[in-house]
Subunit: 156 residues, 2 copies
Amino acid sequence: MGIQARNPAESGDTGADESADVAPLLTEIDHVAIAVHDLGAAIDYYRETFGAVVDHREVVESDGVEEALLKVAESYIQLLTPTRDDSPVAKYLERKGEGLHHVGYRVSDCGAALDAVKAQGGKVIDEQPRPGSRGTTVAFVHPKGAFGTLIELVQE
Amino acid sequence: MGIQARNPAESGDTGADESADVAPLLTEIDHVAIAVHDLGAAIDYYRETFGAVVDHREVVESDGVEEALLKVAESYIQLLTPTRDDSPVAKYLERKGEGLHHVGYRVSDCGAALDAVKAQGGKVIDEQPRPGSRGTTVAFVHPKGAFGTLIELVQE
């Protein structure tokens, strides 16, 4: 069966769905991240096929990636390629090949959103918000406990 | 003709990337689709953790899936679960487990976007646009030829 890290027992509350009324935390799909071997070729594909062009490009040394952001309305397609062999994205490409890597949701307060994940018994990768690309503040939520999806919380 | 329509293909530009000037076809990230085993549990997770609630729910018999759409700004989180064992999503879950399945990009003309993919040598799953959920017109682009990403073109 699937990964279901919901653990109501840890919430300290008695109602089964008392948290159904939490305020919406996700204000936008910030980006879909796609891991690729050849960043230039992927950029060419999106430009030549869909007319989607690079809005921002950045090497994020701490994550060992180079990314290109292609703007689509208020969201981005984030093309990602590793800059070194021990980068998590390098390992991902080796294990799973090219494709969808994670989804970034925009939030107004990354710390508060991360706390909400922890409060619901979710497993996090970043215990605290940290700097992301383009001046954002980010935190990753572990796919175990999030139905197999690596989630990034992005505060602009 | 005296009409000042801009047609990059006829602009006389001999540069190798004359198609860099194609008009933007993607108007929105329509949805990120996440394959899950237990739709109800996944819906609970997004509601209880992020306050994201179901905007639309539908069984799509032709695809053998039940989907729940959670609205985030102008986009959706699409939670997907198979309704029968021979559904492509059932096979995906068996092979890869839960997680990101595809990305849907909104386009104003699904047929034109599909033609653009074909014109660039892309491999398509749907040769022609077909009905999708919530009254949309859709077509899938094969991940082979799209850097490992299953892409859905969605016309509302």
